[in-house]
């Protein structure tokens, strides 16, 4: 299939999927942290969360990727000798990719999560406390399940954008499916064929994600009634 390049592209697709899933895990953690900062009554924490979200969302993904990959590597190697470490440090591109994408999309998710927490009526947490639940119990039993419900539409959007943005990591040399397609295209002089194949694979990935997240949305929305227009 595809002049024998089919299997390498599928390997690349696997790497793309792993990259997307690992990055979204990092992004969820950073997003929750960012949302917690922004909702915190401590002023400087809120300002810090606000700055993270605004600055990262105001700069293109590609620039951030180049900055963190090349600039980060450069910085590490400028700072390391001052700490008495003289060997050149090479950062693993997969790990760097995961943290870069996680860092970028954490900012977008912090916005989604913040909105979702704010959408929960205040009285519910108060009612939980009035029933004698501990703060942690209120958080995990009352706030989190509803937050997930409110966050799913925004999360779906961010996940789709993240999945597609993983293609950019190929620019800095991670051998994802985009990178493999480029090598295959250069070798066979059939760029259209290979980029079309990659486009189809991305379309499968986004379509499956849409179906899965729609299912999840249904599950978490059990018990709510949609406005019937």
């Amino acid at each position: 299939m595809l002049n024998g390049y089919g299997s390498t592209i599928l390997e690349g697709a696997w790497l793309t999927l792993m990259l997307a899933l690992s990055s979204v895990a990092v992004a969820i953690l950073l997003g929750l942290l960012g949302a917690a900062f922004r909702l915190s009554p401590v002023k400087w924490l809120a300002a810090l969360g606000e700055t993270y979200a605004t600055v990262i969302r105001g700069i293109p993904d590609l620039v951030l990727i180049l900055l963190i990959f090349y600039g980060g590597q450069d910085m590490v190697n400028r700072v390391a000798p001052m700490l008495g470490y003289d060997e050149y440090i090479d950062i693993n591109p997969f790990i760097a990719g995961v943290f870069t994408m996680g860092f970028i999309f954490g900012a977008y998710l912090s916005e989604t999560f913040r909105g979702a927490f704010m959408a929960i009526p205040k009285g519910q947490a108060e009612a939980g406390l009035a029933y004698g639940m501990s703060g942690a119990k209120v958080f995990f039993r009352i706030l989190v399940p509803q937050m997930i419900r409110f966050a799913i539409p925004g999360f779906t959007n961010n996940w789709l954008v993240l999945t597609k943005a993983t293609a950019l990591i190929s620019v800095v040399g991670l051998q994802d499916m985009m990178f493999k397609a480029k090598s295959a295209a250069d070798a066979t002089r059939e760029p259209f064929t290979f980029y079309l194949a990659v486009a189809a694979l991305y379309l499968v990935l986004t379509s499956v994600s849409l179906l899965a997240l729609r299912f999840l949305d249904k599950r978490y929305s059990v018990g709510t009634k949609a406005a019937d227009l």
């Binding site: 105001g58 450069d74 943005a165 064929t193 990659v198």
Partner: protein, 232 residues
């Protein structure tokens, strides 16, 4: 000192040239994209499957695949076919600026069409009934009632799309154009100062983003005042 900003200062003209390229790509792509999005958006709200389905497929495929893949398909991919290489359009299709603008315009047209379709669907049904009761024809209904109000109400979402497009234009640097990101890549590789080079590019984008946000805020004040919450 671990930072070296003298090089950036010397290369400021390169960055400023990059800003112009970025703005040119953005404005032309947005204009073309919006021109395509209006018919596509109208097709997306049509009850006729013959009109609706092709537009749905178009927006679904474009929105489901990465911009980078679309750009590569147009810029590198089309050259695979001899008919294209010998066709009339080849002088354009072998030009990076043309291909980048084409790819960006196609991409933004799909997103804008969905935004417009959503906005059209949210038109209060009373307005449409009133227009029909006044005896307006379908064409007049669209021209006088549906489109003006839907385009206005699409403004907040469209501002997000414009900012996404500003960020997307950075991909032009991958196909050799010297936009802001391209300038940063040039500086980075000539002087080996990636950190300073890309931070500077980031700052330029941040400023442009803030300017766009401001512009859209005032556009909303101008055209959407009637939807703003009443001041206490």
């Amino acid at each position: 000192m671990i930072f070296d900003y003298n090089v950036i200062w010397e290369n400021l003209p390169l960055y400023l040239g990059g800003v112009l390229v970025t703005l040119k790509l953005l404005l032309i792509a947005l204009a073309l994209g919006l021109a395509m999005a209006i018919p596509l958006g109208l097709m997306r709200v049509s009850k006729s499957q013959l009109l609706n389905f092709p537009a749905w497929l178009y927006t679904y495929v474009i929105r489901g695949t990465p911009m980078l893949v679309q750009l590569f398909l147009i810029y590198y991919g089309l050259a695979q076919f001899e008919a294209v290489r010998e066709g009339l359009l080849w002088p354009y299709l072998s030009d990076a600026t043309f291909c980048a603008i084409l790819a960006f315009a196609i991409n933004t047209s799909a997103y804008s069409a969905e935004i417009l379709a959503g906005s059209l669907r949210a038109t209060p049904h009373g307005e449409i009934e009133a227009a029909k009761a006044m005896g307006m024809s379908r064409a007049k209904l669209y021209r006088r009632i549906l489109l003006p109000s839907a385009l206005r109400r699409a403004l907040p979402q469209y501002s997000n799309e414009v900012i996404m497009m500003l960020h997307t234009t950075s991909l032009a640097s991958i196909v050799t154009l010297i936009d802001i990101t391209g300038a940063a890549r040039t500086v980075s590789s000539q002087h080996y100062l990636p950190f300073e080079a890309f931070i500077t590019a980031g700052a330029f984008y941040l400023v442009l983003t803030f300017i766009l946000v401001r512009l859209f805020k005032s556009a909303e004040r101008r055209w959407l005042v009637y939807l703003a919450p009443r001041k206490a």
